[in-house]
């Protein structure tokens, strides 16, 4: 079947089998390998992207469900020369080690901060319950999200 997706601002019409997952379209057909797959029960959050502005697990969305939607992936929010405040905060606070969970974590954190005000440590921890990290113990991720909240409030994205 054909699906049309606007991914990181570019419209694509793609012919995919009916049982295709959004994550497979992103990784396989569009080569956006920054979105990762870390589990098969929709829990690890490595695959999180924004679908029409909401953080979702792209491993649990069929391509057909996303037909007509706008998708933003980690590749769409900033570049090494022009980082999103959340990306910068992850770097500045050493909020990543192996980097595998990082794209999903950043996409979740952006959605969390954009939809909440005045998050404290506990609220950030609860807000990130859908993303697993095995490296950092979350300590520096929480620091980074709190720091990014400040920067985003001050005019960042």
């Amino acid at each position: 079947m054909n699906v049309t997706l606007t991914v990181n601002g570019t419209e694509h019409t793609l012919d995919v089998p009916d049982n295709t997952l959004l994550v497979d379209v992103l990784r396989g057909q569009l080569g956006l390998t920054g979105t990762h797959v870390g589990c098969d029960t929709s829990q690890c959050g490595a695959c999180v992207v924004h679908l029409n502005g909401d953080a979702v697990k792209s491993c649990t969305v069929l391509a057909g469900q996303a037909d007509g939607a706008a998708v933003t992936t980690i590749e769409g929010i900033g570049s090494p020369d022009d980082l999103h405040p959340m990306q910068a905060a992850f770097r500045d606070n050493h909020a990543l080690q192996c980097g595998f969970c990082t794209p999903g974590m950043i996409m979740s954190a952006i959605d969390l901060v954009q939809k909440s005000e005045g998050l404290d440590e506990q609220a950030v921890r609860e807000g990130l319950e859908g993303n697993l990290c095995r490296c950092t113990g979350y300590h520096n991720i929480v620091k980074a999200v709190l720091a990014a909240q400040q920067n985003m409030a001050q005019g960042g994205n």
Binding site: V37, G38, T41, G99, F100, R134
Partner: protein
Amino acid sequence: MASQNGIGAAVKRKEDARFITGMGRYTDDLGAHGQTYAMFARSPHARAKIVNIDTAAAAATDGVVAVFTGADLKADGIGDLPCGWLVKSKDGSDMIQPPHPPIAVDAVNYVGEPFALVIGETLAAAKNGAEALSVDFEELPAVVDLASAARTAQIHETVPNNQCYDWELGDKAATDAAFEKAHHVTRMDIVNNRLIPNAIEPRAALGEYDAAAGSHTLHTTSQNPHLERLVLAAFVNVAPEAKLRVISPDVGGGFGSKIFVYAEETAVIWAAGKTRRPVKWTAERSESFLADAHGRDHVTHAELALAEDGEFLGLRVQTIANMGAYLSTFASSVPTYLYGTLMAGQYKTPAIYVEVQSLFTNTAPVDAYRGAGRPEATFVVERLVETAAREIGMDATDLRRRNFIQPTDFPYETPVALTYDTGDYEASLDKALAHVHYAAFAQRRDASEAAGKKRGIGFSCYIEACGLAPSQVAISLGAGVGLFEVGEVRVDVTGSVTVVTGSHSHGQSHETTFAQIISEKLGVPFENVTVLHGDTGRSDYALGTYGSRSLAVGGSAIVKATDKIIAKGKKIAAYMLDANADDVEFEDGSFNVTDSNQSLTFAEVAFAAYVPAKYPLDELEPGLSEKAFYDPPNFTYPAGAHVCEVEVDPETGVVEVVQFVAVDDFGNIVNPMVVEGQVHGGLAQGIGQALLEHGVYDDTGQLLSGSYMDYTMPRADDLPSFTVDTTTTPCTHNPLGVKGCGEAGAIGSTAAVINAVTDALGVASIAMPATPETVWRTARGE
């Protein structure tokens, strides 16, 4: 030089730019033209004979390229997966290593063991083909319970009583004598729960065969690609070493589980050669649960003998260690040389005797997982010490101080075969107690009590042997490989530097910290240093990353190579400046002639090295590229004090970690930001073991905790922010004075948590993980 990006600076990581923008390249991100997909057919039974596998329907399935069984690999000369460490039993006999074909041939011995692989044009085709296999299994009773595994059905024909070895360490007679004169003996039965590593990137492999060159290339998620190549070439016979290149690209965490040589990548690279097509496999998480090597899983009885004043007189430990169904790559060494040798802990216990019986069961193989043996040893020692303090009515910190090895005692030879080079255990404990406000704990406990909660505090003063390892010591104890590391420093013509290391980074930040070392030693700007790793085609044979060794061993190799660079640079500078080489000094990135104002920058000397206009080439080769192998003279001994404070809701059994303080002595520190991050991650895993994580099989050998629905991974809201600090006694025997920090968090923390929970509940012991129901029942006195 005191560079802002040199040793000791909290430099932001080079790696991050690609990871935070989605440009990391992990194995599953790679593809090859004409790529096929492998699906492994896995045993649904914990123990069964394979009577027959009918592959006809699978082979006829749409899109299936090939179907291979274990018999096919065997017929092609593919050998067994070996274990690299020979442990001997008490009677001097060698451990028994059962045959471990990568793909099962005659029998399957754990749920998830692969018995065939199907190669498809698509993953769906491979899966369809695997489902079409018709297999006739003859089920046999499974051996699952570890404590009774020596007395039940025999799993392997060659292994009576399912016993791999029955090992001992220490002086039995002296230890028994110590117990004879004890004033008090503390006795405990301890179960160290099975863990499943769960790096967030699942294992993966992409095998390619270049028919023109007759060579294989394997991209895989390995912590040590050279070891992978050695085993695949020399033991498994996939291809000659020189015709096999193993590349570990970005790897998403390892924690030990990606050290080992597994069935899947073995079969994938072999199948690429057979099918003349690239073959790719990426584990689904359910496969990771079933078939990654698990960790821990001990049953122990331990006893500590004390004099009336609390002096430790002797320690006796009897452990049964679970090997799972087969010996994984380093499995035999974990409960022996990485466990028994650590039983002295931080204490002057004069007599120690450890017995370890390793048994096979019908469960996934068990091997090194972050800490590997040392967390288990710390758990035994620190649970015993804390319990002894409670039994004799002494403050748990005072009892530890009474027995600490003192700074003046180093080098200190333990009764269990190690020689600690340096340390100051009391300094770490003092600092930790200050951070945790120990003096005010009683008030906090009262406040909790008033709110209907129970508060407890627990300590753990751990030591670990890291920086694996002095090759000759390890080889004399059964290691099948040397354990040195290689570092190559290539100075480019323009003075930038490329470092090639045999260590691999899968989160540890080598690209940053190794560049800091170069920047410090050679005065080269940090931005001008590139670190390459993870490719047998780039670096010399080396041993890779495990056992908190990368900086202490790999970093030392790099320092040795920079020393050679400097020595050669001095000679070049001497010729250029018409000075005597002995009069040239290197400082802050400049070669200076002493007592003169003559000097050359590092970049000028580098350029001269490659444009050798002014020096005699018969005496001095052109170029400025040096390599060094470093074999450590001893282990390093990171140590520290961890303190955990918990609040328990007795009504539900929920344990909240309200405070966790870790004060560690890692020797000198290259990048404190990175070190803190390593500690945080280790703490999460150690706390996870204590409260959340448990690999559970049922009586028939089915894995019950086989997904994130049932295996409790620590999440952000399960953990507190940590207080992490350090003390410093530099390692005395490596050029950086570093000890290693990768495993400490996981080694020290678990005992501190359980000591805190048992303190809160006022009980002697509790099963791990201390889940809400377990705590609730324990609080009720069950």
